[in-house]
Amino acid sequence: MIWLTWRQFRSSAAIVLGALVVGVFALAVTGPQLADLLRDSGEDFFTRLSTDGTKKAVYLAGTALAYAVPGVVGVFWGAPMVARELESGTHRLVWNQSITRSRWLASKLGIAALGAALAGCIGLVLTWWSRPLDEAVLRGYTDNGPYSAPRLWPEVFSTHGVVPIGMTVLALVIGVSAGLVVRRAVAAMALTLATVVAVQVLTPMLVQPRLMTPETMTTAITSENLRGFMMSGDENAADPQIVVEVASGQVGAWVTENRTLDPDGRPVAYLPAWAKACAPDPRAVSAEVDACFLKLADEGYRQQVKYHPASRFWALQWRETGLLLVLAAGLTGFCFWRIRRDFT
């Protein structure tokens, strides 16, 4: 059975893994250069990096690959795996050899899952490549561009570490399940693509923040830690809606919540109207601004920040991957149930 599985799988496997090998090669070549760049440039690291077209392109391509791999695997490996057999009727040939369809599916899924896990290792390669970026972020360097984004941030987190492995394996099983449900290869491919993209979008939004309880820090709002000041409505109106954000003071951390507490310690939506004097405005008289911050502190307004510190990267990675793999296992169970039950 392994021979047949491999015979049917090898060409699609070669295309995907071939593309990945090219990507990994480019990362492997430029990775050490990036470390050199950090050593040579120090604080100017991100400025110098922003002029280095090759490394930027490689990083971008690597990230794009890591995002694309689950979809490609689900659509081109998973969806046709059973659907194409059902469509062409060849399941009637192979299910009538001396092998149960469960063993047949186990073999096909097993080998493809190994391939998917291998393809998902692009995340580990990216993590290795970006070590100088992470190091620079922890040293406090930043250019507020995409390359200085801490690796805990969802857009980076999803393509680094072991999460792509879990996501790719899950995408594969989503594809197989879709094929077993709709029984048409092309329809299954479309359904798979939509589902995988939805999972990729929703996981960072809904799952990643809830994997661990965030650290909480409560601090006074000062002109030093103020990082955001948003005022909506008319500036001269009686009640402008003022929202502020403060810095967590934690390099590489991922802030999930940044809200203002009123003197009673309850979260409030907006600061009182007089706080508009705290606005960072170069024309403002500094004494008035200082007085405003003093008044905020005196009245008892404080800022509460919830965040995941940088040190949690791997803990969060393993949890999210575990969750994705548990989902994949559940769907696998469905596949076996369905192939035994509904194709008879």
């Binding site: 059975m1 021979w3 047949l4 015979r7 049917q8 062409s88 009727g89 060849t90 399941h91 009637r92 040939l93 192979v94 299910w95 009538n96 050899q97 001396s98 092998i99 149960t100 063993r103 035994r340 194709f343 008879t344």
Partner: protein
């Protein structure tokens, strides 16, 4: 006579229509059984149920004494070639044989090789490039070289030319002689059955009209032609299969174990086609007559 295949009250429903309903049928082992019936009689459904490709909606079926959706060991004992003789378009003929060798413990590599050579199939040819008949032969080779105890063939020769058809059936008979193989092949062509089979089952509307050893069936069915008379006037041991009257004459097709003694009858022998058509026609006539189906005796 042991039983290779036994169905009791077997039924399969798709949505609200029954493809096969309340089918009770027994197939003896060691025979080449022709399963004959009009289109839509439920032949394919029956064979698919027998091989576990379908699950019964009602009743039960036993194949070689076990349920068809059994473990690997059971799967090795039953071979099946579907109506559309599926093959992997991207795999070569040689790779199909390799597939068979990998997936079947009792695979007969020499026989498979021999068959492919005899058929003139190029092992390096992709199955997608083969003609319909060649594909059928390849699928059949896989089924036979698996060395099953029971081989089920759903319209196996439908896509073969007359010569290939004869050769295939010839092969099949040799295989049956070599290994104690039971074969059930469905067909709506009586000539195929006549050539290869020694046991006949006529299935019309899920119902077995007649089943039995072909020689015995031919020996016990007679066409009687003579002056007109009503069925009630016939001796009790003569079972009427079909009857037609003209003003003066009656033609009866009867089944009886006893000799025909009445000198008024002109007795002639039937060929298999007449017999099959009579049973198929009778079922249709009865449905017209009263809408219900009277129970029929199983004839051996």
């Amino acid at each position: 006579m042991s039983t290779a295949l036994q169905a009791r009250g077997l039924g399969k429903r798709y949505g609200r229509t029954w493809a096969l309903s309340d089918c009770t049928l027994e197939v003896p082992s060691g025979r080449v059984v022709g399963l004959v019936g009009p289109n839509g009689a439920g032949k394919s459904t029956f064979l698919n149920l027998a091989v576990g490709m379908l699950r019964p909606s009602a009743g039960e079926i036993e194949v070689l004494g076990a349920r068809p959706t059994g473990p690997d060991v059971q799967r090795a004992r039953v071979g099946f070639v579907g109506q559309d003789t599926p093959t992997y378009a991207g795999l070569t003929v040689g790779e199909h044989l390799r597939l068979g060798a990998h997936l079947n413990p009792a695979w007969d590599a020499a026989m498979a090789q021999d068959r492919i050579e005899r058929l003139g199939l190029d092992p390096k040819q992709r199955a997608g490039r083969l003609s319909g008949g060649q594909r059928a032969q390849l699928a059949l080779t896989l089924g036979v070289a698996k060395r099953p105890e029971l081989l089920l063939l759903d319209e196996p020769v439908a896509s073969l030319d007359p010569l290939a058809r004869r050769e295939f059936l010839q092969d099949l008979m040799e295989a049956v002689a070599d290994q104690e193989l039971t074969v059930v092949l469905s067909s709506h062509l009586v000539s195929d059955v006549e050539r290869a089979c020694d046991y006949l089952v006529v299935l019309v509307d899920s119902e077995v009209q007649v089943a039995g050893d072909i020689e015995h069936l031919l020996a016990t069915h007679h066409r009687l032609t003579g002056p007109r008379r009503e069925p009630a006037q016939l001796p009790a041991e003569q079972h009427v299969v079909s009857v037609s009257h003209t003003d003066r004459q009656s033609t009866y097709l009867v089944q009886t174990e006893a000799p025909i003694l009445d000198p008024a009858w002109e007795v002639s022998q039937l060929d298999l086609e007449d017999l099959v058509l009579a049973y198929m026609g009778r079922s249709a006539a009865q449905r017209h007559a009263n809408g219900s189906r009277p129970a029929l005796e199983a004839l051996r």
